[in-house]
Symmetry: C2
Amino acid sequence: MSSTASSHPDTAKQAAILQQAIDVFAEQGFRNADVQVIADRAGVGKGTVYRYFGNKQDLFWAAALEVTQRMADHIWAATEPVDSPLEKIRAAAVAYYEFFDANPACLEICVLDRAEFRGSVPEPHQEYHDALIERFAAIFREGIQRGEIRPVDVNAAIVGLGGLLYGIAFQGCYDLAHRTTAEVGRVAIDTFLQGIRTNPAEPPTDRKEQKEQAE
Amino acid sequence: MSSTASSHPDTAKQAAILQQAIDVFAEQGFRNADVQVIADRAGVGKGTVYRYFGNKQDLFWAAALEVTQRMADHIWAATEPVDSPLEKIRAAAVAYYEFFDANPACLEICVLDRAEFRGSVPEPHQEYHDALIERFAAIFREGIQRGEIRPVDVNAAIVGLGGLLYGIAFQGCYDLAHRTTAEVGRVAIDTFLQGIRTNPAEPPTDRKEQKEQAE
DNA sequence: TGGCTTGGACGGACGCGTCCGTCCGGTGCC
DNA sequence: GGCACCGGACGGACGCGTCCGTCCAAGCCA
């Protein structure tokens, strides 16, 4: 209360509800989450929540879209200043873990999206997802052109990269051999870039970015 | 219905309930799943379900443990006849995707475990998980000894591999660039073994297992 | 016939979404 | 400039449907 100004009745309350929805859904899961609790924490009545978001499910979609946008923004901001495609990919991975380390609730929303709704997201999400794929595909293609990246199947590689990032983040709640998610993520992305196999041609003489992860 | 014999009152009914629990939980999610439906599908009364499994949550744990065991069995069966550590890892990955392609309900149980309970599994699960890690660590170590695998950080590599497998399986419900999960998984595991970076020393002349994924 | 398993009817808790009374800011009339 | 009217934003009480876990009556085997 004491919202003296009330210049825009909508925006402030809507944002408050959305943020609380992210937190409560993340804490409780979709079915367990009580809309009344979201309303209480946002400092509004339950009726107001339904006024702004229609129903519980639409509220969840709104929360999920918000999370997607925040994550994408963070990743793009991290990759843009980098020139090398290979390093762009590494930067994206680091940004990804940074984001979820800093916003664990956002990770849980992604998990719930997959678990509750089998990823059957409405169109806005799909558009964001497709845009993500396409921008990464462009990075991969340029990397291949520049000779930094092997001529791999770009789409499959992106799905693989996505799976790697996603999977490790998901597993963050389990015991990751006593490492933080970001730490494991850094090792994993190095593996993705370089592979685990010894090169059949040469003995392990190609230490180059191994220096920074020296155990 | 018509379970005239009832030779073993326990085992048969218990197994039926467990199987139906896996299916119904996978279809509906934990909170959405109605114990009555599980009982009906298993051909028993709800009271019998509670007699055997105590409560809904314990029933879910039992289902999750069953899934874990089935999956682990399948993977070990696939890796044992293989000699080369590197190929053992590849075989394990293939077996992983095979299993979840053939048993999608089992994948959903894993997703639910993570989503509903943050992976806060009871001890039996943890033991299985630890055993899995240890057996793979042994494979990695032998691979490194034999010179097939770069001297990577074994624990981190395993988490990375697990994340890769897990993540791609999870994403199977999204549009994987019009591929099946198994197909994408095969490409991804190749990437894990070899990396995407061109080797700084030699030009891309090392096609060796690229022949089988020729686009 | 007696003990034990089974199954489904039932009570009660819980939470979604609605609906109605309230309150506040803006507008027109005096 | 002050006052009364009005519309709509707001909040929370409530109704209703859903589903967990229990309990007791009926059946089955020894």
